[in-house]
Amino acid sequence: MSVFANYTDEQTFARIVDYKNVSEMWRRSVEEFPSSIALVDDGNNITYQQLDEEVSKMRAALAEKGIVAGDMVGVFIPNSAAFVKTFLAVTTLGAVAVLLPPHLDAMTVFGCSMKFSLKALVYSVALAEKTAFAAEKNPRLAMIEDTASSDAIVPAVDVDPSAPCTVLFTGGTTGRSKGALLSQRALMRGTKNGCYGIREVFGQKYLLVLPLTHVFGLVRNLLTSLCTGSTLFICRNNKDMFRDIAVFKPTIMVLVPALAEMALNLSKQFGRNMLGPEMKTIICGASTVPPYLVTEYDKFGVTLLAGYGLTESANLVSGNPESLKKPSSVGFFYDGMEYKIVDGELWRKGPNMMDGYIGDPAENEAAYEDGWFKTGDLVRLDEEGYLYITGRKKEVIVLPSGENISPAEYEAKFSELDVVQDSLIYEQDGLLVLQVFPRAVVLNKIDVEDKEGYLRAKIDEINESLPSFARVNKVIVRTVDFIRSPSMKILRKENANDQN
């Protein structure tokens, strides 16, 4: 018997089931909750039945463009009902939804269209400017606006559970983001795991603030909401989240620790519970959850449940239904997880695991051993089976906002400057720090008195051009070269400790 059976009643537990694919899950939700509100977006209440009608029209529009099961379809839409409709239309057609984060620039959108052999790109008018380059340079790419609709009847397809379902981006170790390919089975298992640990999981009111292109937003927030007949209010701009809370009165939120901490600090600054009296549960994860959040939220009558997940495992690996008892643990493994701990590192197999990074043989080679996925996370289990994350092995920085960034990806941007010889990015006290070693031969030839000022201005320009979550907070200009290995590789830890 699953340990999670202890945290809800028998009837609710029995309703949490495994679905073969998105089509089966969605069909069952529409049958069971037709007149319940599935989404609240931009002032509109959309029932499960109405959303299904929209999904059918989009599915038919895709089919008319020649999209069939197995095709790769880019989805380039900000959080909105249009995103949800498109995601369901693509995946219930058996095609693969490649979720492109809205902050990507035009070149990267084009690059993704080539790398993932996209057959179509469904885009929002708000992002149209960034799709023009791909449309021009990749004539094989069908461009479809997210308002596309057709009245033809194209039924949902029941693809095999092992069929590819979605591609999500995650920080890479070789300097570029990677695309993790998740099957229908993996996504549905992740969704099922998301239902555990809460007494009342059906018919909840969720407020969405996380990006739907991030696994935590997509699986634990959107899909868990849809498979439990819950209502999802889409907060269009996070600065309005507390106004939205006052109107919608959510009962549950899925938050990264930084946002949970922000809501707590705002509540302290304004002397009132900003999350509202109806809020009962916060699901918190995607980066390390500070234990004090659990006890502080308990004072407001809110249960904060910490969990642990990875993009590569369709999000959920473990969840802690007893957060007050063990606030620094990420809880119990969900059922069906195969794992082993090798030199402290967690290795994984099982139905919720990805089928590899698309088009990245080098990354796959590094990520797997004997069929096991090496998570890069250092863990320990206590005598009661509670899991703890003790550190990281990977060169990926997980920011408090939950964003995964590959330092190499952004170091390359700074190293492109002719006045920079080498650069290094690391995290310290929640801030991103950049160290650079100037290329003196170039810098000395530049006709300015304040050489360091010139260099810093150039660095600032690059910094401002990065997505806001990836901007560095502190710049250290080194006076001596980086500490290096015998093969001249920059040693990350040693240099971070030596700020000369």
Binding site: K239, L266, P400, N463, S468, F469, N473, K474
Partner: protein
């Protein structure tokens, strides 16, 4: 509200937003929000929400990333208060 009053009120907001990395000696109108005050993307979101609440104004569709310094932020608040 005078510019000095806005500056003082804003200090509390930035301090809460930046948390333990806040360095008061670096707080003046020329301070860069990201590199001097150490605000990350969530810190910036905190500021937007708190400024709207404290000053009773609404940010239009400007990303807070459009402001580089404390001075830029004060300019915007002054402009909105005058409307």
């Amino acid at each position: 509200m005078t510019r000095t009053e806005i500056t003082e009120k804003l200090k509390d907001v930035f301090q809460m937003a930046a948390g333990k990395t806040y360095d008061e000696s670096k707080y003046d109108e020329s301070s860069n929000l990201t590199t001097d005050l150490g605000l990350n993307s969530v810190g910036i979101l905190y500021c937007v929400i708190a400024i709207e609440e404290f000053f009773g104004i609404r940010f239009e569709d400007v990303g807070f990333g459009d402001f580089k310094t404390v001075g830029d932020t004060i300019d915007y608040i002054e402009k909105k208060l005058a409307e």
